[in-house]
Amino acid sequence: MITQSMLVRLHRARQQLAQIEEPSPPLSMIAQGASLSLSHFIRRFTAVFGETPHQFRTRIRLKRAKELLALGEGSVTDVCMSVGFSSLGSFSWLFARHFGEPPSFYRRRFYPSIERLGLTPSDFAPECMSLMVSAWATPQFSRSDFI
């Protein structure tokens, strides 16, 4: 059983882990802030959120990196540093492992079309019904396929 207080503490820890613009505190400190031992913190966090604190932090950083790359903000190295990675090598490797291509390829593929269309960060945040509309508008489902 997870108490309301534990829920709030785990949520607060998760928000801290998602703060990527500032140097991130070590996990032991975040666990302490949640009044849990490090091992207990990792176990409860993983059970409640479906990924370890480290996996969560990495996922959030890579997601932010993707946005910055697509929007053409800074060099790949700048992006790597600004989302809290200290090594370009490990950033590129992790990015490629998660998204199937290195950050430089991703930028080259996305940035030109985004610049042309004049998209902004809010365009990366669709909501349910707009996703549905876009999904059914993709060529594979267009009416002409059925005629």
Binding site: I2, T3, L7, A47, V48, F49, R59, E127, C128, T138
Partner: protein
């Protein structure tokens, strides 16, 4: 008009699809890539036509709404089960964390768990007809 679609916000669609199919036992239905995201729905293997869309919480408004309910301990939606206590035992054995263990609310049994995607989900057993 018919009600055939419900949706919940999730923090990561791949993680959500795993939890909703492998742990909760729903069946994947539609999965269409849309840019960075997917139009992703599941349905119940026990019948019924309603689909549940696993919607990305990329929009800050969605994220705020989801988190606010979560810290207040409020379930985002509810699924009906035949036996809350049996479902609770099964899910707990798979590592699911409950915030409310099976309890009776009038004629209805309920329990609440974390769906690992940032939501609390209620299961309920309706009163016997």
């Amino acid at each position: 008009m018919r009600i055939k679609l419900n949706s919940i916000f999730v923090d990561d669609q791949s993680k959500a699809l795993s939890f909703y199919t492998e742990i909760l036992g729903f069946v994947p239905s539609q999965d269409i890539p849309v840019g960075e995201f997917r139009w992703l729905t599941v349905r119940s293997p026990e019948g019924g036509e309603t689909e549940l869309a696993l919607e990305p919480n990329a929009n800050p408004a969605a994220k705020e709404y989801q988190e606010a309910l979560f810290v207040q301990g409020i379930p985002l939606t509810a699924f009906e089960v035949a036996d809350v206590k049996a479902e609770f035992q099964k899910l707990r054995a798979q590592g699911v964390e409950f915030t409310t263990e099976p309890m009776q609310a009038g004629p209805v049994w309920i329990a609440v768990f974390s769906d690992t995607c940032g939501n609390l989900i209620q299961i309920y057993e309706p009163p016997e007809a």
